[in-house]
């Protein structure tokens, strides 16, 4: 039975076989059930993993699930903090009581004075609670370069989990997912951005992609580390592929409309040392 080369099998799936080879290939499919089953499985895999609609839907579900999980996590940390402080206060009170009981004199002498315990400060009710805090590592001392490289920009953080809608039009990024982490190799990262739009695009609008590091001064001047026009394909998708030569740290993806400067999508990613 004729064996087909890798190139031939590839061309079959690509739809670029010449008619004669195609007839021979299809004859093999008819006469060899094992070969036919193998080719059918490959086609099934291509269909499943290339299902753009499902992939986009899943990416959106991941995004929403992470957002809600982060909100619950932040609330849980605040609750745990208060329970921890309460427990500490009870322990200290118990120790003080025990100590004073042990020192109670049997005759008329006074026990040595016991230092006052200091209760943990009760925060003010109007103390701002951080919203949309990134799911980064435990806090490190503020004066270290490492902490500075991952400190978020509050204004961009506010937009992370919201997208601007203009008459129902919005932009989705399906790759990379928000909070993706990249590890540079030889100082570079293969960066592939992909997404699509939903709804009717505002007339004459053009979009621009900007990548910012977390330097608030550069951001305030809108000085991006990478900047690129983002044309839309006829199927409402877009993509951009490049090699990034950037230092480890926190970065933001911003897609804005060129003429109005309106932001349509904000996301973040990190570069970490391997």
């Amino acid at each position: 039975m004729k064996e087909f080369s890798d190139e031939t099998i590839f061309d079959y799936f690509n739809g670029s076989l010449d008619p004669e080879t195609r007839r021979a290939f299809e004859a093999r499919l008819q006469s060899d059930p094992a070969f036919a089953a193998r080719i059918a499985l490959e086609r099934d895999i291509d269909t499943a993993l290339g299902d753009t609609a499902e992939n986009t839907f899943r990416a959106n579900l991941d995004h929403i699930s992470q957002k809600i999980a982060m909100e619950k996590g932040a609330a849980g940390i605040r609750n745990r903090k208060w329970f921890g402080l309460l427990g500490l206060a009870l322990i200290i009170s118990g120790l003080v009581y025990f100590y004073t009981q042990q020192l109670r004199p049997e005759s008329g002498t006074m026990p040595p004075s016991v230092p006052e315990t200091t209760q943990p400060a009760t925060p003010q009710s109007n103390q701002p609670i951080a919203q949309n805090e990134p799911a980064l590592e435990s806090p490190v001392p503020k004066n270290t370069l490492l902490a500075a490289a991952y400190r978020p920009i509050p204004r961009l953080e506010q937009y992370i989990h919201s997208q601007v809608r203009s008459g129902g039009f919005k932009i989705q990024i399906t790759q990379p997912l928000n909070d993706a982490v990249f590890t540079p190799r030889n100082g570079k990262v293969e960066f592939f951005l992909k997404g699509n739009t939903l709804g009717e695009k505002p007339e004459d609008s053009k979009f621009r992609l900007l990548l910012f590091n977390n330097d608030p001064v550069r951001f305030a001047s809108m000085k991006a580390v990478e900047e690129q026009a983002l044309p839309l394909n006829s199927n409402h998708s877009f993509e951009w592929r490049t090699q990034l030569a950037l230092a480890p740290g926190l970065y933001y993806i911003l897609i804005e409309e060129e003429n109005s400067g309106e932001w349509y999508h904000v996301a973040r990613f990190q570069l970490k040392q391997g």
Binding site: L61, I68, L198
Partner: protein, 185 residues
Amino acid sequence: MYYIRGILGNDSRVLEELYRKFLPPFTSMLRKQGGGNDDARDVFQEALVVVFHHAARPGFQLTAAFQAYLFGIGKFIWLRQRKKNSRIEVTSEPQAGYDIDADLEHRIMENEKRMLFREKFLELGADCRQLLQRFFDREPLAKIASDMGYTDDYIKKKNRVCKEKLVESIEKDRRYKEIATVISA
């Protein structure tokens, strides 16, 4: 049909509403079936993906409350997962008040098969994943070859090598045999 339309339209606002409204009671339901919070979140997402495909077919009609429909699918998915580790028999009997008909069961099994494909895909090396993903995304061969600095023929060969690895790892997994048997029955 509000939630169905939101799912089919991939409407973030409706999907977020779905998560906030239905995930907590879904989690409670799954806990009673031996599941944890992470299981509930994963199964909830898979149930939504099943709805995404099932409700898209022509002539779809929702014949029960949306919650019953979604929870019925989710419970069926969960019980199938548990079945693999125990002797629980999973049938098409009404789950959480919703009758899983043959068509819906087929859809759930198709989703399970796709999940297996994804799992095996993610187990490939980074270079194979990156290359295959570009083909799945319908990028032209010439562009891929040019970006990677190789000839077209080399990329075709590399594609085949990576695809063979993926196919073999799927075929070796006994879950694939079981799913394929059920789907073809």
